[in-house]
């Protein structure tokens, strides 16, 4: 029987015809940008100690529009990895698998995937878990007026309820040019991130505030001084955080460092920069 099957199997290729695509696997490399110090809007500079991004999954689409219109992808990488955005050294994170053919758009998630299905609506990758269930971890300090303010940001980028579920959060920009004919000659795709545009979305006031008590506020920072306010806006108490070797963090008061809260402007600015700001570079090799 096996001989019989084998004989017919040998005959089968006689039917060879043109094939539309062939399977392909490309190495996926991701790199950051070496960064010393970045200017801060409103004055001062930022020195980053850590800038780690949970990157992935990544999908390359044959059509000009990604998102829900990209029902059938050309290439995809379904995993996620933590990327050191401060290192220009390419980091091999996995393989893009798919088929040959043209790609006209891309889309990716930042460690957290919106799912369609019965068991849940979100999948948090191990990469995001490494960053404390976040998509981006920024850690460093700013220098402003001779003052050093440490800060840390755990930014989670996830699909919002008013967005389309089940599609990646970052897609090719409407004015961006992205076009490549993927062939078997391609061996790798390198994606390059730059932290500078993200930092550029921050402002000095996100770190240092010079406020006075106003109606409705409970406490504010006046430099390193934390002011406790009455509901009518009168100052009830003041406390210099520097006396304890800490800083006055906006919306948090005396703290060892500034931590961006999800409702803060800085946090929202970073989310905006990550999803709608400058896109990474893509280079096929």
């Amino acid at each position: 029987m096996r001989v019989w099957l084998g004989a017919f199997t040998l005959l089968a290729p006689l039917s060879c015809a043109v094939s539309s695509q062939s399977e392909l696997e490309l190495e996926l490399e991701v790199s950051g940008t070496k960064t010393e110090s970045l200017p801060l809007a409103g004055g001062g500079s930022v020195r980053l100690a850590r800038a780690e991004l949970a990157f992935g999954p990544l999908t390359l689409c044959p059509g000009a529009q990604a998102g829900a219109l990209c029902e059938t992808a050309r290439l995809e990488w379904r995993d996620a990895a933590v990327i050191d955005v401060l290192s220009a050294t390419p980091q091999l994170v996995g393989s893009l698998v798919g088929m040959t053919g043209g790609v006209l758009s891309y889309m990716y998630d930042l460690g957290v995937v919106s799912l369609l299905g019965e068991n849940g609506s979100q999948f948090v990758s191990s990469a995001a878990r490494q960053l404390g269930d976040a998509s981006l971890l920024l850690e460093g300090e700013i220098e402003r007026d001779g003052q050093t303010i440490p800060f840390v940001a755990h930014v989670l980028v996830e699909s919002q309820e008013d967005n389309e579920q089940g599609v990646p959060v970052v897609r090719k920009g409407s004015t961006e040019t992205f076009e490549h004919q993927v062939t078997s000659a391609d061996t790798a795709l390198r994606v390059g991130f730059d932290v500078a545009p993200w930092v550029a979305s921050l402002q000095a006031t996100d770190f240092v505030q010079h406020e006075v008590c106003r109606s409705g506020s409970t406490f504010v920072c006046a430099g390193s001084v934390e002011l406790t306010c009455a509901t009518d806006g009168t100052e009830l108490e003041r406390h210099d955080c520097a006396d304890q070797g800490s800083i006055c963090a906006p919306d948090a008061g005396c703290s060892a460092r500034v931590e961006f809260q999800p409702q803060s402007r800085a946090y929202r600015a970073l989310v905006q920069a990550l999803t709608a700001g400058a896109r990474p570079s893509f280079e096929f090799r």
Partner: protein, 854 residues
């Protein structure tokens, strides 16, 4: 090759009885001659053989027939063929008479010969005389005249000869036109085991048939280069009732043959390609006409109970009055199964009734069928998930949306036909039929990908597609073939005209259901009512020039008209003003599909015919895809066929045919919608080899090989919605196996001549199927499929027992394999790369049957 002989017309009446089952004739004769008190066998029942289609003149065929102790024909051979003195021989004439006589005598039933009161094997001579109709003053229909001409002389009068005279009785229509036309009789159909009645179709050259989606959904067919899915490329006719359903929601031409009961399938008349003007809608790859009947050996009340793997139970009851014609019977079947693997349980029941009555030149036939089935379905699973151990090959995904898959089918059809057999080849038929079909399926191919187009921000509730389709049909058919006319001494012919018309009212819908909330509807995709009419007219000139050349030229025209009430047409998108207008798109279309149907046959040698045929056919569309006023609402089919047919009498017949078929607009399965989608113009080029051998009375083997190269000529271009079309020009047509091979073989012998006064017959049957890897979208290729089925059977008097084994090599094969995007991942990012999906075929399984025929 049969020996020619022209002997004088003398009636032979030699009854020679033998007691040894395997004794050679002479030895048997000697033994019988010495035996006293011999009761001779008598012919109990048996139809007349048809007068051979291409034969002329008179002939008398004397057959040597060996009977079992039950009076069943074990072996038959031609002893001689006698012709009237001075009558000219025509090429192949003797072989035609011999084949006709041998084919029919095997269905005869005799009372057993007895020696000293005990039934014994016997050998008899059976002469059959053929008289052409043109020389007969009264043309007797075969079944009407059977009692008269078949009455054997009484055994006790000492003159126990059998003399059968066949008056020129021809088929109602000339069926064989091309090298790819096949007539497959019951003997070959039942050689291999078949789990279901519809599985007899696997014997058809180039055809594959699988049922991977449960008892409720139609089989998936392919035929010589066409992935017919559930029937859109094959015109199925059962007992003159058209089975394909136009504009069906699951695919135009949907044809569920689940109602077929194997015990009453008498023959298959296969016309591959398009060459016969009678071939109508969906005759793209070809037509298959299933003839129903019960042969004399099996007539009576038959009960058969089967028990098998996976809690399978089947009960068949067949009632075929012995005094009625072969075509008269009633049959019912009930099947239940737990299903192989998960979520595959199902039940089905069907009833078939057919009765031929009346006498004289006009006889009548009533046919009715009732069928219902409900079955769960496991749908498809991803191959990569099977390999990763996420889901097993025969399992279902553990989600409510997957476990809710299943299908209900209900169908009722009745037909009434009047057949006329006049003098000089004149025949005619008029008929009326009615049908109602109800179909509802829930299937999820893609997991969790769909988004509601009706409700904003609603998605991911499971792609459980519900399809509903109700069709009410009324059909009229009529045809008349003239008496033979002879404009020249060297030419004669007939002219036939006919009509096949039908009117269908279809109501169909497609929705997405949320299985976790009592099948709550979360999106509506289709809600439409369709009125469809197909008025077909055809003519056919059948002309014979001399003895060598047969020319058939015909043409057919069908007027197709549609009225569509698309209730969701022009649906307002969620972003637009919901009150700007009301949804709905009503439209109508009418077009004419016309084309020639020609064939040429050259009878080069008595055993060799060269045939060529060309025809243009059509396939009606899914009416919802029509635009208002569209003039050509059909797919045009150009079909050419050429080959040779060799007939070496009964031991061997074979044919080789090459074919080419072009379609103006083809379709292929689209998983995202669970139905068919356009793939543009296509072409098939291939060949089929078919052989059927009957080397001995106790053995029959048929073999077919079909190779085809099917390519896409003009696939649809990329669009914004489909920027990455799965097909390119020149690519292989998806799902079409380039190579199909099939072997059906059986052996039937007497094991014991006397076991409790009855002989014990043994039967062995084998069926081998092979499909080369089917091309899939996105450059994928399916895994080849090779299957072996076998059966063992014992017949002891009125009792039959059989054990059938299916997929004996226990191959984990895919009854259907696809390549598309799906999302069954619930704890990881979904994939958008097309993946291989399989609908599992049945693993190794057995079925034991015990039956009794009274």
């Amino acid at each position: 090759m049969l020996r020619r002989s022209l002997l004088h017309q003398r009636v032979l009446a030699a009854w020679l009885l033998g007691s040894c089952a395997l004794a050679p004739p002479r030895q048997a004769e000697a033994q019988v001659a010495a035996a006293p008190q011999i009761e001779l066998p008598r012919l109990v029942d048996g139809p007349l053989p048809p007068y051979p289609e291409h034969a002329v003149g008179e002939a008398r065929v004397v057959l040597l027939v060996t009977l079992s102790a039950e009076g069943v024909v074990e072996e038959a051979s031609v002893e001689k063929i006698e012709r009237p003195a001075g009558e000219a021989l025509e090429p192949g004439g003797d072989e035609a008479f011999a084949s006709s006589a041998l084919a029919i005598v095997r269905s005869y039933r005799f009372s057993p010969a007895r020696r000293a009161g005990q039934a014994v094997r016997a050998r008899v001579r059976v002469p059959l005389s053929f008289v052409p109709s043109v020389e007969s003053s009264t043309l007797a229909p075969v079944h009407q005249s059977a009692p008269d001409v078949h009455e054997p002389a009484p055994a006790h009068d000492g003159d126990s000869h059998l003399e059968v005279t066949v008056h020129g009785d021809r088929p109602l229509r000339t069926e064989s036109r091309a090298a790819s036309d096949y007539f497959i009789h019951r003997e070959a159909l039942e050689a291999a085991p078949h789990l279901e009645g519809a599985d007899v179709l696997r014997t058809v050259p180039g055809l594959t048939s699988f049922r991977g989606e449960g008892l409720g959904l139609a089989h998936s067919y392919t035929l010589r280069g066409f992935d017919s899915e559930h029937g859109q490329d094959i015109e199925f006719v059962v007992g003159s009732l058209p089975i394909n359903l136009p504009s069906h929601i699951h695919g135009q031409g949907y044809a569920d043959l689940g109602f077929l009961i194997g015990d009453v399938v008498d023959e298959l008349r296969v016309s591959a390609g398009v060459s016969d003007p009678k071939q109508g809608d969906f005759a793209v790859a070809g037509s298959i006409d299933v003839g129903l009947g019960v042969d004399p050996q099996r007539r009576g009340l038959s009960l058969r109970s089967s028990f098998g793997s996976f809690d399978t139970f089947r009960q068949i009851v067949t009632w075929a009055p012995k005094e009625s014609s072969r075509e008269s019977f009633g049959a019912a079947q009930y099947t239940s199964t737990g299903g192989f693997g998960q979520n595959r349980a199902g039940q089905s029941a069907s009833g078939l009734v057919q009765h031929r009555f009346g006498s004289g030149a006009v006889t009548y036939r009533f046919i009715g069928l009732v069928h219902s089935a409900r079955a769960d379905s496991a749908g498809v699973v991803r191959r990569d998930d099977v390999q990763a151990g996420v889901v097993c090959f025969h399992c279902v995904y553990p989600f409510a949306t997957a476990e809710a898959q299943g299908t209900l089918s209900q169908r009722v059809m009745v037909g009434f036909f009047a057949d006329y057999r006049g003098p000089e080849h004149a025949t005619g038929t008029v008929g009326l039929w009615l049908g109602h079909d109800n179909f509802r399926t829930q299937q999820n191919y893609t997991g969790f990908l769909e988004r509601s187009q009706s409700l904003s921000l609603t998605s991911g509730l499971g792609d459980l597609i519900e399809q509903r389709n109700k069709t009410n049909s009324l059909g009229l058919t009529g045809r008349y073939r003239t008496e033979a006319f002879e404009p020249f001494a060297w030419a004669h012919g007939t002219l036939e005209v006919g009509t096949d018309s039908r009117f269908d009212v279809v109501d169909q819908s497609q929705s997405l259901l949320n299985a976790t909330v009592r099948n709550q509807i979360w999106d509506r995709r289709v809600d439409a009512a369709i009125s469809a009419m197909d008025l077909g007219l055809w003519g056919d000139l059948d002309f014979q020039l001399g003895e060598l050349l047969l020319l058939r030229f015909g043409a057919r025209a069908d007027v197709l008209s549609y009225e569509v009430d698309d209730r969701l047409g022009n649906r307002v998108s969620q972003e637009r003003n919901q009150e700007a207008f009301l949804p709905g798109y009503r439209r109508s279309a009418l077009g004419v599909a016309a084309g020639p149907r020609t064939s040429l046959e050259i009878r080069a040698l008595p055993w060799l015919s060269l045939l060529a045929a060309y025809g243009e056919g059509y396939r009606s569309p899914q009416a919802r895809l029509l635009e208002d006023g569209e003039k050509a609402p059909f797919t045009k089919v150009h079909s050419g066929d050429a080959g040779i047919r060799l007939r070496f009498g009964d031991p061997l017949e074979l044919s080789v045919a090459g074919f080419v078929t072009r379609l103006s607009d083809d379709v292929a399965f689209d998983a995202s919608e669970g139905s068919l989608a356009r793939i543009g113009a296509t072409e098939r080029l291939g060949g089929t080899f078919y052989a059927i051998s009957h080397p001995a009375e106790w053995m029959v083997t048929s073999l077919s090989l079909t190779y085809v190269r099917a390519v896409l000529l003009e696939p649809p271009p990329a669009t914004a919605e489909q920027p990455d079309p799965p097909f390119v020009a020149g690519q292989a047509v998806p799902y079409v196996p380039p190579l199909v091979a099939r072997v059906d073989s059986s052996v039937r012998r007497t094991l014991m001549s006397d076991l409790g006064g009855r002989s014990l017959m043994g039967r062995v049957g084998v069926g081998l199927s092979f499909l080369a890897g089917r091309p899939l979208p996105y450059g994928q290729t399916a895994v080849p499929v090779g299957l072996v089925d076998a059966s063992l059977g014992l017949d002891w008097g009125v009792v039959q027992f059989s054990l059938e084994g299916y997929n004996l090599l226990n191959q984990s094969y895919a009854a259907a394999e696809y390549s598309f995007v799906s999302n069954w991942a619930q704890n990881q990012a979904p994939s958008r790369i097309p993946a291989r999906h399989v609908a599992a075929g049945a693993p190794l399984s057995f079925l034991a049957t015990i039956g009794v025929t009274l």
